[in-house]
Symmetry: none
Subunit: 140 residues, 2 copies
DNA sequence: TTCTATGCAAATATTTTGCAACTCT
DNA sequence: AGAGTTGCAAAATATTTGCATAGAA
């Protein structure tokens, strides 16, 4: 599946922290917390970074480069690249809390059935039991 | 339209704070932050309350009475009643707030693609512009 | 050069925890 | 009575802000 990345706005300076954070988000396979991003972007010597991470993320949000995601039942705020063509959806395991990306998005099909309603954004949340925990449960 | 509220688990004590918080969530038309809930539930004299609010919300989460939501706009974590098993989904118009029922539910199809993940609950939210507002907008 | 973003530290805001007193069942 | 909850205060986290300096255009 081809993922479409958002364009970098021409008015946005390409600073080192921004590019680094963008790269980290781009490679991520799941939404990241600010803390995780800070960790993934900091060099061995530097320490704090948090203010920059938050400022960059907020800037990205304003420019629609990223979106805040809600995975119900989780910790702090999570961020992910805003892949315009369709937002990624996730299924969360109620037992191990692991997040599984959902690769198919039903939005087209649904849109067709809506008779004139123009969908601007959508969100799908699944919650249940992942294959692994299910098997463990069966054995017990 | 009949809204189905989650059942109160028999093992959950019906304490005053819990019942109050549940009532507030039940009446809410949008997800609420912990701070907002604290405000809506506190009596004129009492002040802090936060620890109780968070503890109750976490208890509710464990019992699947509520779900956490976060909105791209910003802010902290938001909570709302988990109106389960209700297979009907809706699309909300961003302009007139009117709700359009979605007649098809894609959950089967998605479940099939998940390879072993057992879906216990799901939520689908659409937001956009309804046919009527879209036509009005075109004329302007 | 000029203007904005960064790094750092310090301020806020949010969420969690320990513990004695209190309430449901 | 007994188990589990609340209220309060204080701790731990998470997020934001002020300001001097560094960096991009």
């Amino acid at each position: 599946m081809k993922k479409h990345l958002p364009d970098w706005p021409k008015t946005l300076k390409r600073t080192k922290p921004r590019l680094k954070i963008f790269a980290v988000l781009e490679e991520a396979t799941e939404p990241l917390s600010a803390a995780r991003i800070a960790e993934l972007t900091k060099s061995p010597d530097k320490k704090s970074w948090y203010s920059t991470v938050y400022r960059v993320l907020n800037t990205f949000l304003e420019h629609d480069l990223v979106i805040k995601t809600s995975v119900s039942g989780s910790e702090a705020q999570l961020f992910e690249i805003n892949r315009k063509d369709h937002h990624q959806h996730y299924a969360r395991c109620e037992i191990c809390d692991q997040i599984t990306p959902i690769d198919i998005c039903p939005i087209e099909e649904i849109t067709d059935s809506l008779d004139g309603f123009r969908v601007m954004s959508h969100r799908l949340e699944l919650s249940g039991v992942c294959r692994h925990c299910d098997e463990v449960a069966k054995q017990a």
